[in-house]
Amino acid sequence: MKLTLDAPLLVDSRSHESAKLGAFSWVATVDHKRIGLMYLWTALFFFLVGGVEALLIRIQLARPRMHFLSPDTFNQTFTMHGTTMIFLVVMPTLIGFANYFVPLMIGAVDMAMPRLNAMSYWLLPFGGLLLHFSFLTGGAPAAGWFAYTPLSETPFNSTQGMDYWALALLVLGIGSVAASINLIATVLTQRAPGLTIRRLPLFVWMNFINSFLIIFALPALNASVVMLLIDRQLDTHFFLPAQGGSALLWQHFFWTFGHPEVYIMALPAFGMISEVIPVFSRKPIFGYEFVAASTVAIGLLSFGVWAHHMFAVGMSDEANLFFAASSMLIAIPTGVKIFNWTTTMWGGSIRLTTSMLFAIAFLIQFVIGGLSGIAFAAAPIDWQLTDTYFVVAHFHYVLFGGSMFGVFAGLYYWFPKMSGRLLSEKLGKVHFWLTVIGFNLTFFVQHFLGMIGMPRRVYTYENLPYWALWNMLSTIGAFILGISALVLLWNMVASLRRGQPAGDNPWRAWTLEWATSSPPPPHNFDALPAVRGRRPLWDLAHPDQLDEPNAPAQPAPHAALDKNKVAMLAFIASEATFFLMLILAYVYYNVLSPTGRAGEALDVPKTAVFTVFLLASSGTLWLAERALERGRDLIFRAWLFATILLGAVFVAGQAREYWHLFQTGVTVNSSLFATAFFTLTGFHGLHVCVGLVALLVLLRLAALGDFRHSSAAVKNIGMYWHFVDVVWIAVFSVVYLRTL
């Protein structure tokens, strides 16, 4: 039973375009597979860059009192290594795989919004360029990847490195949020008939959940780096304690992002493991529901425990107590997953392919990283070991031993689908063993180094007992790891040239990406098998042993969900988080601070009048939508025009207020109140202006007669406009009404 997709039109236009454009077609492409590949190649490039940086660090630390790198160069190197590996390697790798495989695994033709997808990708190389451009401006950032203030502020980092760091992270953050909005819309609206939410392949499910983590966590980072940039560029004092700011607020804000980020870098790798282990154990995943639900639990808990990164900064004992307890809870859903993967292997006929070997090594090493993580959740242990090499060992076990091993498992598993050729198993096993040996040698000894007191981020050390020995072993391990990366590269290049052809389904796997050719055609599927369970290809091959015998053979299509509406709601959720951070910053400095007598300069009644204008614009827009639904085009345009007018009056009112404040000496760096005030209201004003542009575009399109039959675009822009108004209600209450 086959469903034929209505695709020939798409094929024609795309292959025609590619032929005409040649190599430029890669720049112009909106094909999720090509974009996915570009993500992966870019990430591979930065993986080599970050790897070389790691080797430089290890050479400098190989012996005591080395002078290979100067202290400042050393600081730049570890900062760039961390930032590169997290934002330019692990995240793009995972998003790249999601880009390539989520649409294939749900039987879609492409992502929900292919052009947005291209934009998400192109922000990545440009973000990377911004970050590395800092080398040409007098020095790379040198304050560590979490850029603790006040070290990352101008008095202590006066080169432009930190500015480029902040700008690059902002660009990369926007790209990640856009990619996630797209993934959410894709999973919710582009699934093949029969592929219900509860039948999603676990890789898709985990990327789906992960996308929510990204749209809520990344805006917190964006807000933080925006505030840091304002500090550095406009000479303000958000995070400078000497001028009344708060260095601790940076830590809270950063880790609000930083802790979910740990899971953002782990969940998709969990998803890969959840695909690889069942296929190479020849058994369906054990306890699908538990794996899926524990993913949600991990995601939720990850937002509530960031303060465990701050046990040593002198929070209260009560706070330490609560965050120690809730951090330990994360061990439960993570442990559930480990048990499920292990039990999937139990009694299966295991095929030890390179992919499976990496998956098994992942299980063991991730457990080690998890155990040292539980140790850190106990505040007293954290006090002893924080900022030592024990931390370095811990997070490399999670991020390399976990995430990267998961990625390697996924790479050996999906490379044949992406290239049409199998990776060499012989070279693969060499790569695997070199990676396992190199990785464990590099990082296991760092546990000991941390326990005997070696602090992280020191550029050199004295010849204390055992320090030289463990450091030398770690350096040797790092070079073995470097060689293993070269073996992988060699394997990829050699296999691309003359690897064994893979065929459609070399592993006899069960998910939809294996139901098409390798590599898939531009339109993905010529024909899609009917989905009647979690393993469509199993059901196709074994009609007498269906996973869900009661499911209908010809599944009905899903209830239509508008992808633009879903995307707009996801976008609004991420914007709301951004504003929430700015509002919290304002509250922290002006409402909660006992000395704050904020806002005396504000003219509340006048602003109240302009507020009425803005709120009225929501009403007129609603009237416009109603007129459009009733087909009254002229009335629709009139109300739309009124909305724009009211919005413009509000913006003019805000400009007038700013002018008045400037006249009385209240500028962005005159006080903490002014800094927080201008940041918050300024970003809101910017959003109103963006909304006005969007409404003007609508008005123009309406004048051309584009909306005769559809009000969807108006509804979506309308949601954004109403959201901006709701944000203003919050801002007005917190900033203005409180001063009365």
Binding site: L301, F322, P552, V587
Partner: protein, 220 residues
């Protein structure tokens, strides 16, 4: 005969109410410890009502179809009650008047029942579909967390009713609590453990999503 699970829900609900209204906790919450007041508040609104709803016999067999507007009202009732009763002025007023205190506690239970109705209510038609329910609980959790954070970081004299001479010897000397620590404890209770209630609710919804048969069994 096996005791039905609903009996245990009822027992847990009664136990939760018993703890919240026990003389000791009330004594502490009414005049001595803000953290006790918070604990009481959380039990009355977040623990007892959902347990009570789960103890009711489920009815109806249609698909969930609560309107979004109604759900939004229930949500606003629950989160609103949580925020409003922690307004320092209102909180101080309530502590001074037994009648107002009674009204507050009743309103918390009612707001809790309304809030949990679309998730744990007995009538299936009046529930939210599981995925929307998850959004409902997640956003409420966010509202709760923000309030907890604000209370934790707020200046210590916020809930001034708890500052009086009688409290000092026992609480602050023998139990080594400071008023600031007491308030932080209260804020943290709302920030961390309260969120766990929502997480458990979300896991319950996922359980419901996966447990409901998607297709009618084949009739042969």
């Amino acid at each position: 005969m096996k005791t039905p699970i609903r009996f245990w829900y009822l027992a847990a609900a009664v136990a939760a109410m018993g703890i919240a209204l026990s003389p000791r906790l009330r004594f502490l919450a009414d005049g001595y410890l803000f953290s006790a007041y918070m604990l009481q508040h959380l039990i009355l609104q977040l623990a007892a009502p959902p347990l009570l709803l789960l103890a009711l016999p489920p009815s109806g067999d249609g698909a969930p179809k609560l309107s979004l507007r109604a759900a939004a009202a229930f949500w606003a009732g629950g989160v609103g009650a949580m925020w409003i009763w922690h307004d320092p002025a209102l909180c101080n007023a309530v502590l001074g008047s037994p009648a107002l205190r009674l009204f507050q506690q009743a309103s918390l239970v009612l707001a809790g029942l309304a809030f949990w109705w679309p998730v744990a209510g007995p009538r299936r038609e009046w529930r939210l579909p599981p995925l929307l329910g998850i959004v409902y609980l997640f956003t409420a959790c966010l509202g709760c967390t923000i309030l907890g954070i604000v209370i934790t970081f707020a200046p210590a004299e916020l809930y001034s009713r708890y500052f009086h001479a009688a409290a000092a010897p026992l609480l602050f000397k023998e139990w080594a609590l400071t008023p600031a620590a007491d308030q932080r404890l209260g804020g943290l209770l709302m920030w961390a453990p309260a969120c766990l209630v929502y997480v458990i609710g979300i896991l319950g919804l996922l359980n419901r999503l996966y447990a409901t048969p998607e297709f009618e069994p084949k009739t042969t």
